[in-house]
Symmetry: C2
Subunit: 157 residues, 2 copies
DNA sequence: AATTTTCCAGTTATCATATATCGAACATTC
DNA sequence: GAATGTTCGATATATGATAACTGGAAAATT
């Protein structure tokens, strides 16, 4: 998806929200965690752990993998970021704090990841599980394809 | 899920089917590929690449990672096995040859992976994508939880 | 049957992802 | 300021995956 919006707003919002949520819960939103969350929010693409490492390295310090993974674990526990299993990469949650299941539309063209929560889809998931008497605890639902904007671009080209 | 069935039938079927499919397509179902497919079908759990490596090692030979991954790639291309992204592991396809989307119910208790193809769920997925004008090319749909048998077991205990 | 072609599997090397363990630094609370 | 708890760092190791190249076996062709 081509984003014509002012993305700095997204970053600001995400960091502010994180700040608020952590304060509320008594979790510590440390400098490292803020930096990593900010990096992840540089765009709407999923970011790989080692890209974060590289970025941290260029910023001077010498962060090692465990540091990054711990920060990512924290951010995931607080629901501030999600992991995209099919990409081994991480993306910011657009509405942290609200209890929700996450479903992802991943454009293989522009790499944009859009998080959605479709009630109909969630219902179908629940139904499919129920049909097998399966009690659901978590879902990984990642749809790959091409987003609207890329599709338009392709058609035009 | 507790399997009361004679699992050796599953293995035989899987290998015979693979044989048939590969013959039909002119793909070569080599000894290594057969061994790996058989290993994956030892149960209904997803098997990790390095477990396959270890098993191959104990069987004498000295297989290296690329060998295993190449065999897995082949088996996936032919639709004989699927990768479970949320586990980084591989599971046999119960009905190869038939064109289908795969959805998985993964029991976190007994680790059994059940493949399903729910028309209702597939329709919901298509619908959710359409709602965002997203053109879908592939899906990763993995539901984690507890299967019927494990649930019963827990209740009894 | 001999030759050619194709493709499989092995080797080495390397990269990427993830965990375990331990200890030092730091802020917070009392 | 001492006690506590947490973060962050270093090191090591395990696991997951790919690249580039080579030799050799099987299939196809002549």
């Amino acid at each position: 998806m081509v984003h014509t919006h002012d993305h700095s707003i997204c970053i600001e919002n995400a960091v502010e929200e994180a700040e608020r949520i952590c304060a509320e819960r008594g979790s510590r939103f440390t400098d490292l965690r803020r930096r990593i969350l900010t990096m992840i929010w540089q765009g709407h693409k999923a970011v790989k752990a080692y890209d974060l490492l590289d970025q941290l390295a260029t910023e001077g310090g010498s962060a090692k993998p465990p540091t990054v993974y711990r920060a990512l674990d924290f951010l995931m526990e607080e629901g501030l970021v999600h992991k995209i299993e099919s990409l081994n990469a991480y993306v910011g949650c657009p509405h942290p704090g609200s209890d929700h299941v996450s479903q992802f539309l991943i454009c293989d063209e522009c790499e944009t990841v859009e998080e959605v929560t479709s009630p109909a889809l969630t219902k179908a998931v629940t139904g499919a599980a129920a049909a097998q008497s399966f009690s659901i605890k978590g879902q990984t639902l990642e749809l790959h394809g091409m987003c609207e904007n890329c599709r338009k671009g392709k058609k035009a080209a």
